[in-house]
């Protein structure tokens, strides 16, 4: 059995540090502890990869297209505004 040091992170703590780690907001010491934990823990390494994937997939959402009717309405809104300007 591996000897657990008081400074060692457990998985349940590590998952709470993922966002801080990705945001670069952990202290140097906290980052090193986190990385040391990852080095010995394939599950938390997988978890971190999944959080990265979650961010990546969410970032791939594209706005839905406007309907032709909405395009017309906004063109109309713009023209009305322009004519008020003059």
């Amino acid at each position: 059995m591996k000897l657990l040091h008081r400074r060692d992170l457990v998985c349940q703590q590590a998952v709470e540090l993922v966002t801080g780690y990705l945001e670069g907001s952990l202290s140097g010491r906290a980052r090193r502890r986190f990385e040391a934990h990852l080095a010995g823990c394939p599950h938390c390494t997988e978890y971190l990869a999944q959080m990265r994937e979650t961010i990546r997939l969410t970032g791939r959402l594209e706005p839905e297209d406007l309907t032709p009717q909405m395009r017309d309405e906004f063109t109309e809104l713009y023209r009305r505004w322009r004519s008020e300007q003059q």
Partner: protein
Amino acid sequence: MDPDSELLLRLRSGDERAFVSLVERYHEPMLRLAASFVPSAVAEEVVQDTWLAVLRGLDSFEGRSSLKTWLFRILVNRARSTGSKEQRSVPVADPEPAVDPSRFGGDGGWADPPEHWIEAAESRMEAGKLADRIRAWLGELPARQREVVLLRDVEGMTSEEVCAVLALSEGNQRVLLHRGRSRLRQLFEDEFREVR
């Protein structure tokens, strides 16, 4: 030059297609964000008002923030003054673990480790069959988490920009982002666990 700065130049020179392009790009994201603050029937109105305010404010926009940040700030201010939904969300201070505590053993290590889903999600995304699910999941997040995730991860804003748009401290922004992303990760895992 980034696409928004180019649009801004065209807008100021009176190009109506530039305005329609801007609406194409931001109308739906703005609706989603507005619906987090006000009932969806009102959200449409708030976004319409925002577009008019954008046109009126074009000349005074100084470009100290990005065009995108400016748009969303106008939107959020309008949505807030229109009136918030009651009981919008859990206070930031309430604890909310990233992972269900029952998945860890007494020693704090994984008892029920994360299931693999990355490859399955990638191929379903490629097939165009995941985006709608992700949109639905975003809608299920608590309002304040959703607002942060929409701006950070869908719109790609920096944390500074999100703090400015939502009037959040850096720390609260990070807590909300952490909870929102953690919930989404769990929803991905649940989705692909069912497939097996």
